[in-house]
């Protein structure tokens, strides 16, 4: 036990270097500078993940953000247990009709200023399930979305790029763009 503890403290962390904030995400956020100016929260964000009918592929990748390799917490972003504690609502899935009401209530329960992020192709466009009779459609058609992270499922690095762009916007440090 003692050997394990000293080894963990003395060896380098296994965490890989974080990616830079994603270009696509920065471009999308740059178009909403005015709206984002009201949402300055500093270099700290709390995420509540909402599964709006996802196949759980996205959840597996989101879960990987917490492991020692990606270590989301080192950026000051963490997952919380209640929408009341959250700033970012990370929505996955094609918004099935049965989850629509729960989704809207969760968003209403989150204190402003808040960000809504569509994670994965399903939440962005409806993905495989676009046009299904059981789905309400892309997240954008139901609530205003601040950021979309594409991918089926998005890899942890893609998610990280998007969230870091959001963190830059929250800290008021968006790179100037021509």
């Amino acid at each position: 036990m003692l050997k394990q503890i000293t080894r963990a403290l003395l060896s380098r962390p296994v965490t890989i270097d974080g990616p830079a904030a994603g270009d696509a995400a920065l471009k999308e956020l740059a178009g909403k500078v005015d709206a984002l100016a009201q949402k300055r929260l500093g270099r700290s964000l709390a995420i509540r993940a909402i599964d709006a009918g996802s196949c759980n592929g996205c959840e597996l990748e989101i879960h990987a953000l917490n492991n020692p390799i990606y270590d989301l917490e080192r950026f000051g972003i963490r997952f919380v247990a209640s929408p009341r504690h959250a700033d970012v609502l990370l929505v996955t899935g094609p918004v099935s009709l049965n989850m629509q009401e729960a989704l809207l209530r969760t968003i209403a329960a989150t204190p402003a200023p808040r960000f809504v992020v569509a994670a994965g192709d399903c939440a962005c466009t409806g993905g495989l399930f676009a046009g299904s009779y059981a789905c309400a459609g892309a997240l954008e058609s139901i609530v205003p979305v601040d950021l979309r992270i594409a991918g089926c499922p998005p890899t942890p690095l893609q998610l990280l790029e998007g969230l870091l762009a959001l963190l830059a916007a929250s800290a008021g440090k968006m790179p100037a763009r021509p």
């Binding site: 503890i5 962390p13 300055r40 917490e73 080192r74 000051g76 247990a81 504690h85 989150t110 204190p111």
Partner: protein, 314 residues
């Protein structure tokens, strides 16, 4: 004048240092898991973020729900002023002793538990019920340990205790037993593993977190700062009784500076041990709390009994 300065310093320093200690514990825990971990100052940023957000109240929330975070924080803060952190001259005129500290912490617990039940969510109720169970088991253990210490130091006031302990009371079995009891109570009261997990996301394993699920914005900031301050409080309490070295008894600037450095070192050492301990063991089942805290009560009672017997054998 010096007394007033020391009082103000002892009032403000613990609150200022509390987020740093929490950040330090989180950092060490992350490093033990092979992660890089959040920056040390992250808890300050988290609190600043919460202050910038609007607080949302449930439709049926009463004045109790709005007032409880401030009341609980004030009670913990007041208890903190009675603990010698830098100098043994604390809270002039208030006369708060260890029993008053236990009472103030109990008041804070009851306020948060009532607020947890106020809005009527099921998790608030489950958290309140568990918190009161832990309180009902931990408080007797704390009181018995206080009695053991009071017999040794001839006082229940912490400054007198620190002075008596630093003058040397010899190596006593009762002291070790009281230390064991207070450490176990401290783990339960500050909501650390194995009794509660401060980082859990599963509602069914929550105790403290379950009660505050409904809080947001500045209310949540007060509750989080209160929880951080409680950790500083218990570490300072243990340090002031069982490691009173370096506490300034007078008002010399050199003494005070050294005492401040030593206090921060003691907090860091306590935080490090806590992080290693939390990483090394798993959380207990709720049904095993009585065994854990029963052992704390047993330690306290044994300490008192040994003292009683040794005084009659002379």
């Amino acid at each position: 004048m010096t007394t007033l300065l020391i009082f103000v310093a002892q009032l403000l320093l613990p609150v200022a240092a509390a987020p740093l200690l929490t950040g330090f514990v989180r950092k060490i825990k992350a490093r033990l898991l092979g992660r890089r971990g959040p920056p040390l100052l992250q808890p300050y940023r988290d609190l600043a973020r919460l202050l910038r957000k609007e607080p949302i109240l449930a439709d049926n929330a009463s004045w109790l729900f709005r007032g409880a975070p401030y009341g609980a924080f004030a009670a913990i803060w007041l208890a903190m002023t009675a603990i010698p952190t830098v100098a043994t001259t604390t809270s002039p005129g208030l006369g708060l002793d260890l029993i008053a500290i236990a009472g103030l912490l109990g008041l804070a617990r009851i306020l948060i538990a009532l607020a947890g039940m106020d809005v009527g969510t099921s998790f608030g109720g489950i958290g309140a019920s568990r918190e009161m169970t832990i309180g009902a088991l931990a408080e007797p253990a704390l009181f018995v340990a206080i009695i053991a210490l009071a017999i040794i130091a001839n006082s229940t006031a912490l400054p007198d205790m620190s002075r008596a302990m630093s003058e040397g009371v010899g190596l006593r079995v009762s002291l070790a037993l009281a230390l064991g009891a207070i450490v176990m109570v401290a783990i339960a009261e500050t909501g650390r593993i194995p009794v509660d997990n401060p980082a859990t996301h599963l509602e069914l394993t929550m105790v403290h977190e379950a009660m505050v699920l409904e809080y947001s914005g500045r209310h949540l900031a007060m509750i989080e700062l209160g929880a951080m301050l409680k950790l500083v409080l218990y570490l300072s309490l243990i340090a002031s009784i069982f490691a009173p070295w370096g506490l300034a008894h007078g008002g010399g600037a050199g003494d005070l500076g050294a005492a401040l450095g030593l206090w921060l070192t003691k907090l860091a050492a306590g935080g490090f041990v806590l992080a290693v301990f939390e990483t090394a063991i798993a959380k207990m089942r709720v049904f095993r709390y009585p065994e854990f805290l029963g052992a704390a009560l047993l330690f306290g009672i044994l300490g008192v009994v040994f003292l009683y017997i040794s005084q009659h054998l002379k």
